[in-house]
Symmetry: C2
Subunit: 250 residues, 2 copies
């Protein structure tokens, strides 16, 4: 079964260049393994209407939607109330989360700002946060995770067993130096036409150790991926390359 | 003057996790310096309808749109014809580019696949590629760049002097260890309410050297940014932090 997912990174720090993203690749790889490959990613600022519209659009188009960022206690952490609004449900205190956070901070330090982290859209299921307690949550097909990579990853692994898996994606790669994409393009297009059920990708690389190209066959039918990989290997040989299995060394 | 930009990363390699993005932060920082800050980023697969729809939507919403990826010679390089279609113009041989590429490859190696790299949307202006010759291009407010980071950066610097600049964005940051966001949230919200023309951001960090928070004031009026930075400093002192100017050490 083919399942799809989308990812929304919420916050200004990637858009301004303050922070280099460290969440996309982890989620892309893990979702590929679970058979729910990422099909679209958006990076948006913490503007109320933008968050609501983006969540509303993507949750209708994809099987699962993941968000990162904007679930802390500060004024710019507005992901949770915006998701509530996208689902048309109240944003309210989640009693078990309130109790856990109050215990953690102590009643005297559990101020209004921190109490915000105990509010969830009505009907949401918390996603445990083993690092810093304040949970993420799932509502419908939308999964709201922290933006700090270490916390995001821990939350994702809490969530993963509950996700409905799709057929896993298989992938095989050959690379060669010295040959360029231009010499391979016609042969590669012919392979793509033979294997319309697969993605045949071509990725040039420019490294200290030499220029070349990596060719990737990817899809949900392992035998077809193997057959396409053989065809890629044969094309590289035919054009005078020295095919080596796998990605080029970094 | 406030100007805005959007970025579209085209290709499957970021979505599948094969490649970690190395273009967003560079463009985010450079566009901030030019006063054309990034307001939205999309990562999309090389699917014709998706590229056309995304370019069409974003070029209407933002002053400038940048794309990376999908301009090589292979079957999955479809950015250029899709941009032509988004603008409703033919995709045709650009004679000066054809001549330069033919010279570079030699007539005997200048095959059909490589000739595709000499095709541009009618009316587009090439963006020189000092690394590997095949150009990017601008048409209207859409700027089409290579996906390989080294080539993308070179193309961007060719393009930058031709872009209409906006007011540059100023930014000042204080960080402290030991204090968390929860203790600062109310005071920070009050600062945001005093400085509605600025973005006041709060970014927790979790490092070997300790946990803490970085607070950023950002906007186009330098004096206002300085005043907000002073207010942030005073808040950190008041709450018992040890404010240090700048980002926390990595």
């Amino acid at each position: 079964m083919r399942r799809t997912s989308a990812l929304i990174l919420i916050g200004n720090e990637i858009l301004s260049g303050r922070t280099r993203d460290d969440n996309i690749q982890f989620l892309a790889l893990r979702l590929g393994e679970l058979g729910i490959p990422l099909v679209e990613i958006r990076v948006i600022p913490d503007i109320r209407a933008t968050i609501i519209n983006t969540v509303t659009e993507l949750r209708a188009r994809f099987d699962e939607v993941f968000t990162t960022g904007g679930i802390g206690p500060t004024h710019d952490d507005i992901t949770s109330p915006c998701v509530a609004e996208a689902f048309g449900v109240p944003w309210e205190i989640h009693a078990p989360t309130f109790a856990v956070l109050q215990e953690r901070f102590g009643p005297e330090n559990f101020n209004t700002a921190r109490q915000r982290m105990a509010k969830l859209p009505k009907g949401a299921t918390p996603i445990a946060n083993p690092v810093s307690i304040a949970p993420g949550f799932s509502i419908g097909n939308v999964h709201v995770l922290a933006g700090v990579p270490r916390i995001m990853r821990a939350m994702f692994e809490e969530l993963a067993p509950t996700l409905q898996k799709g057929a896993p994606v298989f992938s095989r790669t050959w690379h060669t130096t010295l040959l360029g994409e231009g010499a391979l393009a016609d042969g590669l297009e012919a392979i793509q036409e033979r294997f319309t059920d697969l993605d045949i990708g071509s990725y040039p690389f420019h490294r200290e150790g030499g220029h070349g190209v990596a060719l990737v066959a990817k899809g949900q039918d392992k035998q077809r991926v193997n057959d396409a990989a053989q065809a890629i290997h044969d094309l590289l040989k035919e054009k005078g390359g020295s095919p080596v299995e796998g990605e080029p060394p970094v």
